[in-house]
């Protein structure tokens, strides 16, 4: 089992899987890390976006990699609207209320999807689904490689937005000191909604990258969210590079632990790391001081 012929492909595979985790976590780290909203609706939004990508392909015949340019802005608008008109007003500024509102949203979204599309599992068949690149000792699936590359592009874009634009500065200001930001003339409700929208757009991109190799049913997104929360804590709340590195680390840990411990116990590795990070470095790998 320790032979490099299986170990190296397992690590590579972990990196490819981790990239998608990272993308889901990027959205969450903005919402959870910056706004301190524990967004239980993240998984349901991922599912909704996967359905959007599925129907874009199935009904309109748009390839998921092109559909991302429609689905992501649409989900930005959806996220913006949700925060501005539902989560924000309904929670009256209380973090605990936000948690419950997002939990409620998750239930509503999942059940609307179930009602509309039944529990049926759907998949799409694009020409490149089974394409893989032979690198000698293993094969790397093309759609997963595309996902891997796209994650870096998204992370870089987000990092640039956060670091070098007025919106990014405003987001960071709101995260640090809400009242102060408001006094400085920042429209806090707007910035909250923009951040939520960005997080939701990340999820939409993840959905478009996932759909060529994964499947969608009304609870498909749930599988990714718990892992994403772990990554956010591991990488540091609100840290874009943290989410990226965290995602890749968790992907490799999961791959290796399922190799050595078996699939059923593979998840243990992830949560052991989670506990160790909380004990040793609670602010995460890249997190600022708590």
């Amino acid at each position: 089992m320790l032979s490099p012929t299986i170990l190296i492909p397992a690590v590579l595979n972990g990196l490819l899987t981790g990239a998608v985790y990272a993308l889901v976590a990027l959205g969450l780290t903005l919402i959870y890390g910056v706004l301190h909203i524990i967004n239980f609706a993240h998984g349901a939004l991922l599912t909704a976006a996967m359905f959007a990508a599925y129907f874009a392909f199935h009904v309109l015949g748009i390839d998921p990699y092109i559909a991302v340019f429609i689905v992501a802005p649409a989900f930005f608008a959806l996220g913006y609207g949700l925060q501005r008109f539902v989560i924000g007003p309904a929670s009256h500024g209380d973090d605990r209320n936000m948690l419950l509102v997002t939990l409620g949203l998750a239930v509503v979204i999942e059940n609307v999807l179930l009602f509309a599309f039944r529990g049926d599992t759907r998949t799409i068949d694009v020409p490149y689904t089974f394409q893989s690149i032979d690198i000698g000792f293993t094969f790397l699936a093309v759609p997963r490689l595309v996902g891997f590359g796209a994650v870096f592009v998204v992370a870089l874009t987000l990092w640039l937005i956060m670091g070098f634009t007025d919106t990014g500065r405003a987001i960071r200001a709101v995260a640090k000191e809400k009242l102060g930001a408001q006094l400085a003339g920042i429209d806090v409700a707007h910035i909250y909604a923009v951040t939520f929208g960005l997080g939701t757009a990340c999820v939409a991109i993840a959905a478009c990258l996932l759909i060529p190799t994964y499947y969608v049913n009304p609870s498909a997104g749930d599988a990714f969210v718990l892992v994403a929360f772990t990554i956010v804590v591991l990488g540091g709340m609100g840290s874009v590079p943290g989410a990226l590195i965290g995602g890749l680390v968790i992907g490799v840990v999961e791959s290796l632990s399922s190799l050595f411990l078996g699939e059923s116990l593979g998840q243990i590795g992830i949560f052991l790391i989670f506990i160790v990070v909380l004990l040793v470095r609670p602010q995460g790998l890249f997190g600022a001081k708590a």
Partner: protein, 410 residues
């Protein structure tokens, strides 16, 4: 909360509900005998998990049952009851045993003569028992767990095969197919989901395959859902077995087959037992390349029956896939209608007697005439299928076969 808020005492509550139950019972027994002379409809409970995790299967099951009811009613209803129509009472088990039991209670109060359905073993175990309290006949549509019919419940009938029969057939048929091809497969890897179903299959095969000369290299368990099958496929690749035996639900089965294709892992055969996607028209249609050559031992209709082919056309005409839930439920409703016809009574006790003595052959399954022993249809057998030419063909039993096995596939 203060006691004052409870308007009823326990005694009062019991008294009123007992009165209500008595009234309902009196109603269901006394009223129909007056009305039925004019061919009053017979109420039939149609119970499936149409919401929750099992909703797809449940909806398919309901579709099959409703198709049968519509056909029977259109053909003049139950003739021995003056052309009585079957009046379906639909129930949703919500993919939970408790949800199923609640529906049984409702159906009993509404005075149904019989219940058909349940789908999952866990639901069927609970619903048959709940129905037994009222001596309410219950026809299990799928539920393969053998404990369903081993509890001595007089009201419970299972039309399809149980797990023991399926597993033994799967084993015998695998040996037959392998021997027929000159024993190309010697080593096996089992990939199974880690709940009762997958682990049960793995345990049984793991114990019995070596007796037939196969070497089981490894048995890999994984949870449902599993997001990624690459690690499992790497393990398969490293050990290079002749045969891969998956025992998974639909989603994981699809992911496994697709990942194997992506990683260029092509064993001599993929052979599954009750495989989630192996004998699914949906899978074959969506991923013909990944499905090619996969063999399965599962519930399957009789491909040589004209009635079955007509039903298949009808279901596909509705834009639905012809899954086993459809034709099993279709047949179960037919079984009940036949028992009503012969017994000439919607009375529950008479219906139970009539079901127990059933020798019905008007169904679409490769079972022969029905014969129930302790509630189990003795002729019920699974079929061995293989995906060939973008279609699913039956290999065994020979009597119903419409193709020969292609093995090894690579």
């Amino acid at each position: 909360m203060s006691n004052k808020k409870i308007p009823f005492s326990r005694r009062q509550f019991l008294a009123t509900t007992a009165l209500g139950a008595a009234a309902a019972a009196a109603g269901s027994i006394a009223m129909p005998s007056v009305l039925r002379a004019a061919g009053a409809p017979v109420k039939l409970g149609v119970l499936h998990p149409v919401t929750g995790a099992l909703s797809y299967s449940g909806t398919q099951g309901r579709l099959g049952a409703m198709l049968a009811i519509d056909e029977i009613n259109a053909a003049g209803g139950i003739k021995s009851l003056g052309g009585a129509k079957i009046d379906p009472m639909l129930g949703d088990a919500q993919s939970k045993p408790a949800g199923g039991v609640a529906e049984v209670e409702k159906m009993n109060s509404a005075g149904v003569s019989c219940i058909v359905g349940g789908y999952a073993s866990s639901i069927c175990l609970a619903t048959t028992q709940a129905a037994a309290r009222y001596d309410l006949p219950y026809v299990v549509d799928v539920g393969v767990s053998d404990s369903i019919i081993k509890r001595g419940l007089k009201n419970t009938f299972r039309f399809g095969p149980g797990f023991g029969v399926i597993a033994n057939s799967a084993l015998d048929n695998l040996v037959a197919i392998n021997d027929g091809a000159g024993k190309p497969a010697k080593t096996v890897m089992i990939v199974h989901e880690d709940s009762l179903f997958g682990s049960g299959v793995a345990k049984l095969l793991g114990a019995k395959l070596p007796q037939h000369g196969f070497k089981v290299l490894e048995s890999i368990a994984h949870p449902t859902p599993t997001r990624d099958f690459n690690t499992i496929v790497l393990k398969i690749k490293a050990q290079n077995p002749d045969l891969v035996i998956p025992a998974d639900y639909y989603n994981e089965y699809v992911l496994l087959a697709r990942t194997m294709l992506q990683q260029h892992v092509r064993p001599k055969g993929i052979y599954s037992v009750l495989g989630g996607a192996a004998s699914s028209y949906k899978f074959v249609k969506e991923f013909p390349e990944a499905a090619k050559g996969i063999m399965d031992c599962n519930h399957w209709f009789n491909p040589l029956s004209d009635k079955a082919q007509a039903l298949k056309k009808k279901v596909e005409g509705k834009g639905q896939f012809f899954t086993y839930e459809v034709y099993l439920n279709y047949s179960c409703v037919g079984l009940v209608a036949d028992a009503l016809e012969r017994g000439a009574s919607p009375d529950r006790a008479k219906l139970i007697a009539s079901l127990a003595s059933s020798t019905w052959s008007g169904h679409v399954m490769p079972y022969g005439p029905t014969k129930f022993v302790n509630g189990q249809n003795q002729g019920a057998v699974p079929c061995n299928t293989q995906v060939q030419d973008n279609d699913i063909k039956v290999l065994l039993p020979k009597k119903f076969a419409n193709a020969k096995p292609i093995f090894p596939i690579s």
